[in-house]
């Protein structure tokens, strides 16, 4: 049993990010367990890109990710909610102006 505990500790969780095609960002697709980063990459290929879903994969140990709370009440995101002028819909453009 003690041995099992050790194995558990030895297979960290990795988060997987896939670039679905050139020109797009890597996007988080899920996680997997692997002994190391190299194995995580191989498993990620088999698990998340069986149908050409990706041209590039990143794996990152979940424990290495620093995250803010996605909860929208989190003040961390308040500045972006504040700045509505960052969004194109903030600006009124007359109908007759094309390609805007």
């Amino acid at each position: 049993m003690a041995e099992h505990r050790e194995i558990r500790a030895g297979w960290p969780l990795f988060e997987v990010f896939v670039r679905s095609k050139r020109g797009l960002n890597h996007v988080h697709v899920g996680s997997l367990r692997a002994a190391d980063a190299e194995m995580a990459l191989r498993h990620a290929r088999d698990l998340y890109t069986r149908r050409n879903e990706g041209v590039s994969i990143w794996v990152v140990k979940s424990s290495d990710i620093a995250a803010s709370s996605p909860d929208e009440k989190d003040p961390f995101f308040a500045p972006s909610a504040d700045k509505v002028y960052r969004h194109p819909t903030f600006y009124d453009i007359p109908e007759h102006v094309p390609h805007m």
Binding site: E3, H4, R8, G10, G30, A35, R50, S69
Partner: protein, 322 residues
């Protein structure tokens, strides 16, 4: 999870997110019951995908052609993938993956009753794709809008792959129906054996499904068991007609008034027996899963040891850089 009473604002926020039809994400506050219900449902779903590899894998080495073998391999590999997507989703709720596997092989958590029936012939492979994956699609498509983000996203990924599963099965059956009298008999026989268990996949009838109301209020589930079962029957009857097989239910007929097919009473006693562990293959399925887990222990050990050794070596080499 602490069980102290939450700030009312957190609970209110959770309710608001659900009411607005937005997704709950892993780091959000959520009621204990929501988390527990989801862990149970997602784990059960994951276990079903994993155990679900066995009935079809039974035929991989005996597939009648290289084409069928390649298709079946790809399909079974997909089911393994489905299990892993779902374990990944369960982990975002705080479940431990190794513990989940142990829960399955120690029978502390369940899996779908359907996988406790045997695959007696190659036509069973086709009927599983058509009916079992067909029923799974009915169940899973609405779950793409489940309120828990990682579960819903896993479902989107899974649903994209299920369509291949159902179509390869139906095509296999069409091929057999165009063959000899014996082959047609095999298809009918497999249909007879899998029809009722497929209807049971949707779970107990609504009046006997105590958790449904809460799950629907939390938008974990979007439709009741009976609604989904009816939808499946309505979709499948014309497919059976096109295939030229008879569904084994004398009471199956179109009801103009309801705008649905009526169908006969499901043998719920059988369902209860299979869920309780007394189906034709329960023991075999769990024994095989346990064997695979235990036989793989040395591989997990070796990989962990190799990774630890490399990490140590790497750390030694770069110690001077920092």
């Amino acid at each position: 999870m602490s069980t102290t009473t939450p700030e009312p604002s957190l609970e209110q926020h959770f309710e608001d997110v659900i009411a607005r039809d937005q997704r709950i994400e892993p780091r959000d506050w959520m009621p204990d019951g929501y988390r527990k219900t989801l862990i149970r449902q997602v784990a059960q779903h994951a276990h079903s995908e994993i155990i679900g590899m066995q009935p079809e894998a039974n035929w991989i080495t005996r597939a009648p052609s290289l084409r069928r073998k390649a298709i079946l391999l790809a399909k079974v590999q997909d089911e393994a993938g489905h299990g892993l997507y779902l374990y990944s989703a369960a982990e975002t709720l705080g479940a431990d993956r190794t513990e989940l596997t142990e829960n399955l092989i120690e029978s502390r958590q369940k899996y779908s009753s359907i996988f406790n029936y045997p695959t007696l012939g190659f036509a069973d492979v086709g009927v599983i794709g058509w009916l079992v994956d067909g029923a799974a699609i009915c169940n899973q498509v609405p779950l793409c809008r489940s309120s828990f983000g990682p579960y819903a996203r896993g479902m989107v990924r899974i649903c994209k792959e299920e369509s291949f599963h159902q179509r390869q099965g139906y095509e296999l059956l069409m091929t057999m129906m165009g063959g000899t009298e014996d082959q047609r008999r095999m298809v009918q026989d497999a249909t007879n054996r899998w029809w009722w268990p497929s209807l049971m996949m949707f779970g107990p009838p609504d009046h006997n499904s105590p958790n449904t109301a809460q799950s629907m209020a939390w938008k974990i589930k979007r439709h009741t068991n009976d609604e989904l079962r009816q939808r499946f029957v309505d979709m499948t009857v014309p497919q059976a007609e096109a295939l030229g097989v008879t569904l084994p239910d004398p009471e199956l007929r179109w009801n103009d008034e309801r705008g649905h097919y009526d169908f006969g009473e499901i043998d719920w006693a059988e369902f209860t027996q299979v869920i309780a562990g007394n189906g034709p293959c329960n023991t075999q399925r769990l024994a095989q899963r346990r064997r695979a887990h235990e036989d793989g222990a040395w591989v997990r050990d070796a990989a962990a040891a190799y990774a630890a050794k490399h990490a140590a070596k790497h750390a030694g080499k770069h110690a001077g850089d920092r």
